[in-house]
């Protein structure tokens, strides 16, 4: 990066490419984290939650996060708006 790129107002396409890659690669790594049971787990959680509250599959998030040496399996269920 030279002095000219400093004055250039638009981001370089290489920078755009890098940002896009960082996002998609992080997303895909999470998906392919080695636990291929995660989609099924998500389906089954949906069935359990649906016994009590009406939610759709898209309201359920299952993630594996790494925190140092520790792996955390994280569920997130977004409840629907109670008014509707």
């Amino acid at each position: 990066m030279g002095i000219f790129s400093y004055f250039r107002s638009k981001k370089s396409t290489a920078q755009v490419a890098k940002n896009r890659l960082q996002i998609i690669v992080a997303h895909e790594r999470a998906q392919n984290s080695g636990y291929d049971f995660l989609p099924r787990l998500r389906q089954e959680i949906l069935l359990v939650v649906q016994k009590y509250v009406h939610v759709e599959l898209e309201h359920i998030n299952v993630d594996v996060n790494r925190d140092g040496d520790c792996e955390v399996l994280e569920f997130n269920v977004t409840l629907p708006d109670s008014k509707s």
């Binding site: 990066m1 030279g2 790129s5 250039r8 370089s12 396409t13 290489a14 920078q15 490419a17 890098k18 896009r20 890659l21 960082q22 998609i24 690669v25 895909e28 790594r29 392919n32 080695g34």
Partner: protein, 268 residues
């Protein structure tokens, strides 16, 4: 015991075969017994890049199926001592490279060779998985371009989960080989830099091969480009071979060539 090295990428057309041919040739020139294997059943190309397409009699699948011995199928390179090529089959179905057969061939080679270079087909199907399955080390060939980098990341995931080493809890040594690099476009901000790609893939850099006309002219005549010692790509492959053997060399060809006074004057 030899070392099994897979040359892989996920994406096609990034330079796996060119790299396999040159790295194998470079290793053999250093006196190491080297075999280079084409795993691309149905679409063999290594024989063309190595310039031995007219000497193919038997192939990888013939050996696995017991129609030929390994010695009959291995083609001895005419230019470089210690270098042997095992061509892929052109006709048979892809499943013919079954795991037990590949294991047996690699075991045989492993007892006689210092390096076994496995040229992987593109994709993440059977052939690519077989090429990486028994590898000790992996060279991930990547272009500084979004789809190639993404595919390389997928391949790294497979190397860390689907290979014998990974299943035994061991670690495959991974190397990044960045090919078709154009330092001038990088400087202009039109191309991902070597630092960008390294930051995303996070594996050690084996080398940067510059975009070079010599790669095409070398393949035209069936000579691995590493034998073209005056070309930038040839020199870059020689450096990569040295690094593969543990030598530490500074990276060349990652900065634009400074234009001389006259070429600037003439608007070159």
């Amino acid at each position: 015991m030899g070392k099994i090295v897979v040359v892989t990428s996920g994406k096609g057309g990034v330079g796996k075969t060119t790299s396999s041919a040159s790295l194998a040739t470079g290793l053999a020139r250093r006196g190491l017994q080297t075999a280079v294997l084409d795993f691309d059943v149905g679409l063999r190309n290594l024989d063309l890049i190595m310039g031995c397409e007219r000497r193919v009699v038997y192939d990888f699948v013939n050996v696995i199926q017991g129609d030929a011995t390994l010695n009959q199928a291995l083609i001895r390179d005419k230019r470089v001592e210690n270098l042997y090529i095992l061509p892929a089959s052109q006709t048979k179905d892809k499943e013919a490279l079954h795991q037990d057969g590949v294991a047996k061939v690699l075991e045989d080679l492993n007892s006689r060779f210092d390096f076994i270079i496995c040229d992987s087909p593109a994709g993440i199907e059977h052939g690519a998985l077989m090429a990486m399955h028994f590898a000790d080390e992996a060279i991930v060939v990547t272009n500084p371009e979004v789809s190639s980098v993404r595919d390389s990341d997928r391949i790294l995931g497979l190397l860390q989960s689907k290979t014998v080493k990974a299943k035994n809890g061991e670690v495959i040594k991974e190397h990044l080989l960045l090919t078709r690099y154009d330092p001038e476009r990088v400087q202009r901000g039109d191309m991902l830099s070597v630092e960008d790609v390294q930051e995303i893939l996070a594996i050690p850099l084996l080398g940067v091969i510059p975009e070079s006309k010599s790669v095409l002219t070398a393949s035209n005549s069936g000579e691995p480009v590493i034998l073209d010692e005056v070309s930038d790509a040839g020199q870059a492959y020689s450096d990569a071979v040295a690094r593969l053997l543990g030598e530490e060399l500074p990276q060349r060809f990652i900065h634009p060539v400074k234009k001389g006074f006259f070429s600037r004057l003439l608007g070159g």
